[in-house]
Amino acid sequence: MIEISKVTKHFGEIQALEEVNLDIATGEFISIVGPSGCGKSTLLRIIADLVSTNGCVTKPEKGAFVFQDSALLPWRTVQKNVELLMELEGVAERKEKAKQALAQVGLTGFEKSYPHQLSGGMKMRLSLARSIVLNPDYLLLDEPLSAVDELTREVLQEEIHEIWKKDNFTSILVTHNVAEAVYLSNRVIVMSPRPGQITHIVDIPFKKRTPDIRSKPEFSNLVNDISGKLRAWK
């Protein structure tokens, strides 16, 4: 369980976040959507403890953060990049675990490649593998798919869903893409423009997530509903 209570944030004169309260159940997948600059990335960084706050965040011990630009070390091979966080955390049996994680994201055979030789989608897979290999209690995803093309994006959404279903960590995804949020989440959190605060929480009732739900009317109704809430700000 992750509890966010009375989280506010000022950057100098500018107020980025206005009292955010939110409880996220263990194993739940939530997404945060909102207009640009509404402080949703800041909120994610506050949860990760990368940014300070006056409020209070309680969370399980082990977490990982997936960055927008995949944040790989360019001088390390794919293999060494997957091992990086285990190395920093002093995890044993790194080779074995790295192998499994690479297989899980379909990067087997690329162990000796360097990041610049990978496509955007593969870089993001590598970044995911590096995080899930830690077996985290929660995963924070900061617009991980914003840099990949539309087709790869949908495939990666399905892969993220599969990984989440299998490993069952709590997930918080920040995204601009409403369909992505609806496809992946149990709940979608809608935030207002700066100072950001939670205005709506939309439950996503789907039991099963398979690519075909994208074409169902319930799916597009939810997407339209949330997009409408976001458009109301403009």
Binding site: L50, A64, F65, L73, W75, L88, E89, Y114, H116
Partner: protein, 254 residues
């Protein structure tokens, strides 16, 4: 290597040598403008003296270069770790660059004697700044998300330095070393100029002064070419080290 790469600079060289040769023929004053052929012959006739000079200048410049690399990287590292130290030291690092080394050289010779020691010091002073500046730039421009990643998963500043900041700065360090390669030779020659008009044995700079005084212009030119070649050799060596370190991952070497 392909002909395409080699041909253009070769044409320039041929053109240069031809106009030099023709110019020397027209003026016909070998003590002012010896032709390329005469300079080439001097290489042969004065081979021993040139090689002796090269050896001395090489050891001074190379020692100075290595010291500049060690001091430069260390100072930049210290500055990158502490804002206060950076603020206190950086202005003096700039002074190191702006001080007219040629003018300070006599003072250094006065303090440290007419010895190779002084030449090395002058070489260090002139080669140091580009290394400090580039290393510092590299150490300070680690991508923000990578720093955040390390903040999340490591609480050791050392780990972050050795596994992230330093490797990320290597392309900049190499860039600084490339600039300083030629400078260290220039520094050594300047040092030798100040030290040595008196004696015959000595580095390339000493011999240039000596040969000039004797109006052996062809020898002066041969010595200049030798010094140029020395700086070039330094540069090529660092470049190939840089290539081996970087070509697998950095765009500058691909």
């Amino acid at each position: 290597m392909e002909v395409k790469k080699i041909l253009p600079p070769t044409i320039i060289l041929a053109f240069f040598l031809a106009s030099w040769g023709i110019g020397a023929k027209i003026y016909d004053m070998a003590f002012l403008l010896p032709g390329p052929w005469l300079v080439a012959q001097t290489f042969k006739s004065d081979f021993e003296i040139i090689m002796q000079g090269l050896g001395i200048t090489f050891s001074a410049a190379f020692t100075g270069y290595l010291i500049a690399i060690v001091i430069g990287v260390t100072v930049a590292t210290v500055m990158s770790l502490s804002k206060i130290l950076e603020r206190s030291l950086y202005p003096y690092a700039i002074l190191l660059q702006t001080v007219p080394v040629v003018a300070v050289a006599p003072l250094i010779v006065l303090w440290f004697g007419f010895e190779i020691k002084s030449i090395i010091i002058i070489s260090v002073i002139i080669a140091l700044f580009p290394i400090i500046n580039n290393t510092l730039l590299g150490l300070k421009s680690t991508p923000k998300t990578l720093v955040e990643l390390f903040d999340l998963h490591s609480d050791s500043k050392f780990t972050t330095f050795f596994k992230l900041r330093f490797p990320a700065a290597i392309p900049n360090i190499i860039a600084g070393m490339k600039i300083s390669a030629g400078l260290s030779v220039i520094g050594a020659i300047v040092g030798e100029f100040i030290i040595g008009s008196g004696s015959e044995g000595g580095g390339l700079g000493v011999q240039i002064i000596y040969a000039q005084a004797n109006l052996e212009t062809a020898l002066v030119m041969a010595l200049i070419l030798t010094a140029t070649g020395l700086g070039f050799a330094f540069f090529i060596t660092v470049s190939s080290i840089g290539y081996h370190l970087l070509h697998k991952w950095h765009e500058s070497e691909q």
